[in-house]
């Protein structure tokens, strides 16, 4: 009995030590839940984006982590479905010591967890989508539409079209069709486009495409009859390839089409074939190759840890977008560590501060091997977007090429005014006192 008791104690001690060691090991890892979608209608975008995120995480870990803190993650399949996304968020938010941040890559899911992240104190990034007015950190302290929002993009579009016409004043009397996915996403740029319509005197025609957009003959026949100077394509998924092909069918020049950045990936142009040649879209990444992508090829794919099944997709639009997102998160974590303790695992609140004080300038981009890959970004409590700059790219039949050598910036003052008005309305509805969060 005595032997048995001592053996039991010994086993218990070993088990306790192992558990403690395990906990300490887990505690040295910064956990990020990945609400991905790899099956379903939007799987190709999801697999590229989250593939980029995981590839960058693996690169950071291969280089020793963030000041020694390794990144850990767990994927949960949302299928781009809002309710599943919320379920995934709830399932993962407290795992492995708690989520440091979250990125749902879907407006529906982002709206679903918008209020929850503020309560849970977990920052949520929404790169290039979601609520544009969330750029106001005084009202949305835990939401970060980093780099650029839909409103900034719409302003950038008009700036580009104005430049193309020979100046913004030359847009007077021109006809612009806004062909949009009939959803909150498609209607998001209305305030900006309508404000510009009044200001510049062009004629804006809005044409809705019902979800999913796999049939657009009637819309494009209307466009043909209207004979616009430009068509803004605000689409997502199958709608984009069908729009490009139907434009070709009715003889509308693709050079006069300008897509939203969710209509500007290889997944949108390859199915459209030759019809996509000359088609232009907005982007917040400059297409091309960068040292960080070479590093991923060498250190991640070379070690057999690459996330993309098809290596040809390395450096594609969605993959690069995922790398960009992950890079900014890691910069946020690094920033937080500089303030709250190097080599420590950061809480959501601390990472929130890190994201709110980002300053990724050209020198920092060079150090990260991503010089010019995305606009320089400097966030603050008042500006969770941090940039607002965009670029225009063209599909040459095989790859995307940058059209504008420099970053395009729309009317920043107009966008900021809209952000202030809209966020104030939200604050009043939710009884939020607008103020910078302590940190």
């Amino acid at each position: 009995m005595k032997f048995k008791l001592s053996k039991l104690l010994a086993i218990s001690a070993v088990a306790a030590t192992t558990a403690l060691t395990g906990t300490l090991a887990a505690a040295q890892e910064q956990f990020v839940p990945i609400l991905s979608y790899r099956v379903g209608a939007y799987a190709s975008g999801g697999s590229g984006f989250f593939g980029g995120v995981i590839d960058y995480f693996n690169l950071v870990n291969a280089n020793g982590g963030v000041n020694g803190v390794k990144l850990s993650w767990e994927e949960c399949e949302t299928e781009y479905n809002a309710s599943r996304g919320v379920e995934c968020y709830e399932r993962l938010k407290k795992k492995n010591g708690g989520a440091g941040l979250v990125e749902p890559l879907g407006t529906g899911i982002a709206y679903g967890i918008l209020d929850r992240v503020a309560v849970d104190k977990i920052p949520m990034t929404t790169l290039g989508y979601g609520r544009s007015d969330a750029a106001n950190g005084k009202v949305f302290p835990y939401v970060f539409p980093l780099i650029t929002s839909y409103w900034s993009q719409a302003a950038g579009m008009i700036k580009y079209l104005g430049d193309k016409a020979g100046g913004l004043d030359k847009l007077k009397g021109k006809k612009i069709v806004h062909l949009y996915h009939d959803s909150a996403f498609g209607k998001e740029p209305f305030p900006v486009l309508e404000a510009y319509e009044k200001q510049l005197g062009f004629q804006l025609t809005k044409i809705a495409v019902p979800h999913p957009g796999n049939e657009q003959n009637s819309q494009w026949l209307q466009i043909r009859q209207a004979n616009p100077d430009y068509v803004i394509l605000w689409g997502w998924g199958v709608m984009n390839a069908v729009a490009i092909k139907t434009a070709a069918r009715v003889g509308f020049p693709r050079e006069k089409m300008l897509g939203v950045w969710w209509a500007g990936s290889e997944e949108d142009t390859i199915p459209a074939g030759d019809a996509a040649k000359g088609y232009t879209t907005m982007t917040f990444n400059t297409p091309g190759n960068y040292p960080v992508i070479d590093d991923i090829r060498k250190k991640v794919y070379g070690a057999g840890k690459g996330n993309l099944a098809d290596k040809d997709r390395i450096g594609s639009v969605y993959h690069m977008r995922g790398i960009t997102a992950a890079m900014l998160w890691v910069e946020g974590i690094r920033n937080a560590q500089a303030k709250y303790g190097k080599g420590k695992v950061m809480t959501g609140e601390q990472i929130r501060w890190g994201l709110e004080n980002l300053n990724v300038d050209e020198a920092r981009q060079k150090a990260l091997g991503a010089h010019g890959m995305f606009p320089t970004i400097k966030t603050s409590c008042e500006d969770h977007e941090g940039s607002g700059a965009t670029k225009v790219q063209v599909w040459d039949g095989k790859a995307w090429k940058a059209v504008t050598p420099n970053w395009v910036m729309g009317d920043r003052a107009m966008v900021q005014k809209l952000v202030a008005e809209s966020s104030a309305k939200y604050a009043a509805e939710k009884k939020i006192t607008a103020a910078c969060a302590a940190g």
Binding site: G40, K206, A208, N214, N217, S218, K245, A248, I270, P271
Partner: protein, 298 residues
């Protein structure tokens, strides 16, 4: 007036594409009384298999199509054998639920085997206006849509021949009329159902290839089934010509409605307008234009 006819023709040609999907539903419903919810998934699976074989094994499209045809017919037979045969004599709703389960299985399995990336499918048919029509009338009529309509016509003719002029066709019609009576005269019910599911698999392949070439091969192909539902309600669930006529009516009216009524109400109405039309038809003629009128005596 020219614009009206242009919209009308575009609608009629789109309607043929809807009818192509609706045909698969009709075949199975006519022979077995099962509403095959998985028809859209079968269209997706067929197109994905055709391009998947091309990509993975470097086959030409003209070689991958016959192989996919074998795969689709096998899938049809397998579905009958594994999913439906064990459920014979169960309620209609049970069979319907089984096809819902089948839908999710096929969608998941297709992506597991071939991946979820969007692919291009090139059948060598240009999707551009026919110059002769454009020069003489100023109207744009797509070569691709006209070719698709011709293929659909050939398919319907082949199905009509199969149903009306062959032994298996007579058996199919007998089974469709009355399962019990067909059994009593020695028609092998399960064999007939297997054939029907196989043919539906083939129809799904044709639809998948044409829709895939038009829009790219991607998950959204499963949504084309939604376009087929009002066609079925209008044309009748048991009539091959009904699927065609229903497709033409739905295609034409949804386009005309979108172009001429849409702008008055904010647009985007072609998604639901066909369903309103189908609903109105249901109120007046529940069996559809060509469906069998069911008379129950009390």
């Amino acid at each position: 007036m020219q614009f009206f006819f242009e919209v009308l023709i575009a609608g009629l040609l789109s309607g043929v594409m809807y009818a192509l999907v609706a045909l698969g539903f009709v075949l199975i419903y006519k022979a077995s009384g099962v509403f095959n919810f998985a028809q859209g998934a079968m269209v997706f699976f067929a197109a994905l298999t055709a391009v998947g074989l091309q990509e993975k094994f470097g086959l030409s499209i003209w070689l991958s199509i016959p192989i996919t045809m074998v795969v689709m017919v096998a899938l049809g037979f397998l579905t009958e054998r594994v999913v439906l045969r064990p459920l014979v004599n169960q309620h209609d709703i049970t069979l319907f639920m089984a096809t819902i389960g089948l839908t999710f299985f096929i969608e998941g399995f297709a992506q597991l085997v071939w991946g979820a990336e969007v692919r291009k499918l090139d059948l060598g048919i240009a999707d551009e206006p026919i110059e002769a029509i454009m020069n003489s009338t100023g109207m744009l009529v797509s070569k691709f849509d006209v070719t698709a309509a011709a293929i659909c016509g050939v398919l319907v003719a082949a199905l009509a021949f199969l149903f009306n002029k062959t032994k298996i066709g007579r058996a199919l019609r007998a089974v469709a009329d009355d399962h019990q009576a067909a059994l009593t005269v020695g028609i092998p019910l399960q064999h007939v159902w297997g054939v029907v599911w196989g043919v539906a698999g083939f129809v799904a392949l044709v639809a998948g290839l044409l829709w895939g070439a038009r829009n790219g091969v991607q998950f959204a192909l499963t949504f084309v089934a939604l376009k087929a539902l009002p066609v079925l309600i209008l044309g009748g669930f048991t009539s091959v010509p009904g699927a065609i006529v229903g497709g033409l009516i739905i295609g034409a009216t949804e386009k005309l409605a979108e172009v001429f009524i849409g702008p008055l109400v904010g647009g985007g109405i072609e998604g639901w307008f066909p369903y309103v039309l189908a609903l109105l038809f249901l109120l007046v003629r529940p069996e559809g234009l060509f469906g069998e009128k069911i008379i129950r005596r009390i």
